[in-house]
Symmetry: C2
């Protein structure tokens, strides 16, 4: 039986322990000894980070610096991204690998990536991202969403391409602004949920549409989720409408999301109001966090650091207490792992032996300081050390 | 004559040069040679960072982690801070030194610190911060504001203490929410501006008051500045009202600030709307940036990194283009240097030889990535290397 030990680990609850790992899972947290195993030097141990939303095929990582060129709206950015694809001198696969390497170096053990499926790129991005995923097998778990970035109804052939993508290896079907992009809420959702049903796939829909239009879409997605018995398998990403509707509509919408167990993903963007993270959680809606764009045609910001993302969630949500900082951290760890259906997770006996060590006194300090990841361990195996891949 | 050379420096405009420094100022930017001097290895050279607003006496840096305890309003935080002072097991001087060390390690060459002057601490914080300033003479320039954190009219003896503080070494007189804290706009401003006039001191007033109340205060400060001929010597810090008033009032307020040359300081806080940074700049109002709270009773966030502060300004203002990122960077460098009346500044002949080197391709990339500061140079002298003080 494979057994590994890490000595002198400080847990978020303050205990110092030796960690025993067997067959890739946590087997014991014992009082410290002077026995075998790597000495963690009393560094703080945190559960492995989980990135709930990235775009592996979009990043410019590895390319010379590219100034941002897109206008301010979603259609502007879709158009600018497509116009710029021809200039990219590194393949999707190469850029995706750099993105994954960076995420691992920062402590990510699992992530969900959307991958563009459109009439031009067809399944090409998916195939390249799958190749990058294979290269990182065992190092980081990659869940893929077949994402109709350019719409479904207005983009010829995309429904069939999504179908093919789900057959070939995407675990979830995506969607985008049924009203704002496709101009037909029910028509868009008919296609997406039919594909989900056919493939037994999860759903993760980008919803930028604001205000009452967006709220109507949120509630329609919740209604379909409940009707199809897909509770716990549907995510709505961004859901900016939750930050821009009146209080009564918000209450109704939150109720629908909770009842259908639809999860909400946020990247804590810098502009506009943040969605009411704490209120959603208090009402029983699952909320988790992701990086979203990292150095791509949509945004020059982002670095794939989910500890920094937790800081940004807390910063934007005004979460200042230790409990608030822990909530922001939970969005980038446990809540994301649950949304990704990652399996036994956390610093617990029997969970997958994933952890990160940092030079910080408390979990709250780790969130605000975001120290270099001294060690990243996934399934008992060291994947990164001092911020660099092993 | 003291002459120092740094070879193989890449400037933000793309040129690679050797830098010659004489008597602490930039004397030449020449084509690269293989001559004497430290080889910068083609790293990107940026002007030294300037932090326009900190509180050296408030930080918890150096202490065990302290959970945030204050309620959400300014009076809550003032009260929580005072209640917690007795627990602080490191002196103001020691904590201020740690703060300064951190700022220098991150590339700061000059900063403005507010220092609490209140009926309890009297001039004690000022004296201790002055001792810390002396310890860092030549390493970082420290400008001090005598700051009536607990108010002036409602805090017995504070006006006289501010007077004494300005005699003893504070360069500016501060103020705080004339209406929100002191409840008497003209009474508060009478005291502050009389002290400024008496001592020939600058003014830097904390203004959290929102909405039309805050706009009235902004315009009253501008009117006094113009009436006293103090153009260019007055700052209003935070000025949250600028983010919460109607468009017409905003236009009038911006006109008054521009005409009186009153500068506006922002720390780009995470909650609420950001003040309209680009609009203010476009209208001719000087805007600069600062860290504000760094791990203190007001906020657990903040790390004293002005390159990160530039990122946060850009993130919150939606500045994504290279020009936008350069504007955010300017707020943390040139604009702050001008507000602090730092003297000849920037990567220019004759300017004080302050610079930072980072592993980044462009200025925009430096802002989004915030790489470790490979070298920090102030007045031609290396003050930090690889993120640590020399």
């Amino acid at each position: 039986m494979t057994e590994t030990r890490f000595r002198n680990a400080r847990l978020p609850d303050g205990r110092t322990v030796d960690i025993t790992i067997r067959e890739g899972s946590f087997a014991a947290f014992d009082d410290p000894t002077n026995g075998d195993g790597e000495d963690l030097g009393g560094k703080l141990v945190l559960p492995g980070l989980v990135d709930g939303h990235i775009h592996l095929d979009k990043t410019f990582l590895g390319l010379p610096w590219r100034p941002h060129r897109a206008g301010p709206t979603v259609p502007h950015r879709i158009a600018a991204e497509k116009a710029g694809r021809a200039d990219l001198t590194l393949s999707v696969e190469d850029r995706a690998k750099r993105f994954l390497a960076r995420e691992v170096s920062l402590g990510t053990v699992a992530l969900r990536s959307h991958v563009d499926i459109d009439p031009d790129s067809r399944l090409d991005h998916l195939h390249q991202v799958m190749a990058a995923r294979d290269a990182f097998a065992g190092i980081v778990d990659v869940q893929l969403v077949a994402f109709p970035q350019s719409g479904v109804l207005i983009a010829p052939g995309v429904a069939a391409l999504l179908d093919a993508a789900l057959s070939e290896g995407a675990e979830l079907v995506g969607g985008i602004d049924p009203v704002g992009i496709d101009g037909d809420m029910d028509g868009h959702l008919d296609v997406i949920f039919a594909l989900a049903e056919k493939h037994g796939a999860g759903v993760d829909i980008h919803l930028h549409d604001p205000g009452h239009k967006g709220a109507q879409e949120l509630r329609a997605i919740a209604a379909r989720t409940a009707a199809l018995g897909m509770q716990g398998k549907v995510t709505i990403s961004h859901a900016f409408a939750l930050a821009t509707i009146d209080d009564r509509t918000l209450d109704l919408t939150i109720g629908d999301l909770r009842d259908a167990d639809v999860a909400i993903l946020t990247s804590a963007p810098g502009t506009g109001n943040l969605i009411p993270v704490a209120r959603l959680r208090d009402a029983g809606v699952r909320v988790f966090a992701g990086s979203d764009n990292v150095r791509d045609a949509w945004s020059p910001f982002g670095n794939g650091d989910m500890l920094e993302r937790a800081m940004l969630v807390a910063y934007r949500a005004g979460l200042r207490t230790d409990e608030g900082l822990a909530l922001a951290f939970e969005l980038a760890t446990g809540a994301a792992a649950q949304a990704l259906d990652y399996g036994p997770y956390g610093l617990e006996l029997g969970a997958r032996a994933d952890f990160v060590t940092v030079a910080a006194e408390t979990l709250a300090e780790a969130v605000v300081e975001r120290p270099v990841r001294s060690l990243v361990v996934k399934g008992g195996r060291i994947t990164a050390r001092d911020g660099a891949l092993v």
